[in-house]
Symmetry: C2
Subunit: 374 residues, 2 copies
Amino acid sequence: MQKEFIPYHLPFPTHTTGLSFVKEVLESGKTAGNQAQSLICKELLSVDFPNSFSFLTTSCTSALEFSTLLAGIQPNDHVILPSYTYPSTANAFLLRGATLSFVDSLPNSPNMDLDKVEELITKKTKVLCVMHYAGISLDWEKIERIKSRYNLTIIEDAAQCLDSNYVKNGTDYPLGSLGDFGAISFHETKNISCGEGGLLLLNNKNDITQAEIIYEKGTNRSAFLRSETAFYEWKSLGSSYALSEINAAVLRAQLMQKEQIILSRLKVWNEYKLAFSKISVPFVPEYAKHNAHIYYLQLADYKESVEFIQFMQKEKIQTLHHYRPLHSSDFFNDKHDDRSLVNAINFSNTLVRLPIHHEVNSDRVIETVLDFFN
Amino acid sequence: MQKEFIPYHLPFPTHTTGLSFVKEVLESGKTAGNQAQSLICKELLSVDFPNSFSFLTTSCTSALEFSTLLAGIQPNDHVILPSYTYPSTANAFLLRGATLSFVDSLPNSPNMDLDKVEELITKKTKVLCVMHYAGISLDWEKIERIKSRYNLTIIEDAAQCLDSNYVKNGTDYPLGSLGDFGAISFHETKNISCGEGGLLLLNNKNDITQAEIIYEKGTNRSAFLRSETAFYEWKSLGSSYALSEINAAVLRAQLMQKEQIILSRLKVWNEYKLAFSKISVPFVPEYAKHNAHIYYLQLADYKESVEFIQFMQKEKIQTLHHYRPLHSSDFFNDKHDDRSLVNAINFSNTLVRLPIHHEVNSDRVIETVLDFFN
């Protein structure tokens, strides 16, 4: 019998509802950003982020770029960020002319080693950008300590983190709401998706006026639409960050099914954890409550990881490496100082992601993985 | 009898076809950018732009930003651009740290006065950015002369110009394809729309490799997807410019009806022209073949223009001013030199746009406008 292909990812099917919302949008003719569907999405999101102000964006990348404008980054400002992350995390700052220092991962987790941050701080350091890998929270207490000691702006790349939490004294704090700014992704590959899309969370109310202007191509159109001014005009740097209503309609349907989507992933994640307890289990600290965005295995070395991926491929199961470390990339290598970031390189070589979504035949994946290791 | 409201704009209804394509996308799970629907859109667009390489983007703003990265603009490079345009035209360059000089409009057209460009050129001038207002072509021969004399990069803000042409010796040259880079908008308010969306046209083949990298967040993912490299990594500055497949599906349906959409607008435009021949007709030079994106009237002064808009509003007809000149905006005023750009200010004060779309009751609009002037 032909085995069915198991893709790494598959968006959760909310087609019927999604299509009915898209139909509403197309029939209304109100298809540009920040109209009826976007407002509904923002209301749905306000349950998760009651203390944040949210802007739907065209991508998590644009949410990050939006945050760098809000943070007022100037040429030669210094930014500290992880090496094991997506290039957009770094480009957002480089586009503002910032200089970058990359930080290694922890030995036991792809997440950045926060104990390596302070030694990099100079008078020019303006931002600490953090990224929670696989929706697994960083140690926020450490970040708070660094922030208050050096008065840094914290930008939280929470691309993978919708419905992930940092837990302190029994209370859940949603990732994305902890930094000064948080960026979340709704890309096709994320738990909750609308093709291309993102979210900027403003966690300080005094940023709202400027954020509205930057979001509206540097104009005071938002105030104009509220009849607070007779006309609108150019006020600031800015861009076109608004997510179209068509994508917002699709996002709305996804957000309505959020619990079910996350539960279906957690089920698979926990099955993997049980089955691979003696092989490889992602490190989840006690303060992290994650959203099952990624289940990864760590192989012995790069060679074995390639063999593993090829083995799984023959069995029609798609598995994937993840990031190449930014500090040693073709593009940045000659700008990096001489610190060797061995853990980031190690995760780049050995981390392999297993399929995780509502349709995964986890028994077959587990059996095949165990076959490889036996 | 209650009069029906006539909105300034209404996207042409391609809902049924559009929805069926969106359904395809959602069912496939392939919702992120640059997949099946985008390829079809690019094929449809290649009929209009046979000599250009096209990238679908999240907006015309992002297409312009994309072009400024491709043009390699560095801090303090000098850019010359019109004052009577949308803030995004200017922000795209300011985001790269460029210095700007704004040019006045012509006395008889909102389009920029190309005879005022050369006096502004310095050794630092790198780009001449031009914008064809209302889809009505600038005098491209003048632009070519300036380009070749001073070796400038020409960036063509063709936001309003899909299906507009520059005509020379009986041949039509599509706007957007004439500069080194051309940017087109598919925003809700444009003739052909998909909510938020845009198009970057590359008109030089040697820009393609770098464009593919910038488009894919500064990585060589495009080469990777063509199996030209074993993995993809960070190679350059870049951003997330790709239009989602969901929007591309909507765009595809619109592009399929392009002729009909433009014809339905041209019909209204020509009716207005005939009716208002003694009041106000937009100046269309012999070398311009336009797409009926905008029909504007010029009122005597700002006061009359406001009275006109209010008069039309009472009659339930939406009419609109357009741009506020960028050079004298709150944001740029103190950075502008002391040239007074009287024509740009004049068009800002006196230009009013009439409703134009497939559903306009043009008889009622004409009658009401004539009522105002009598």
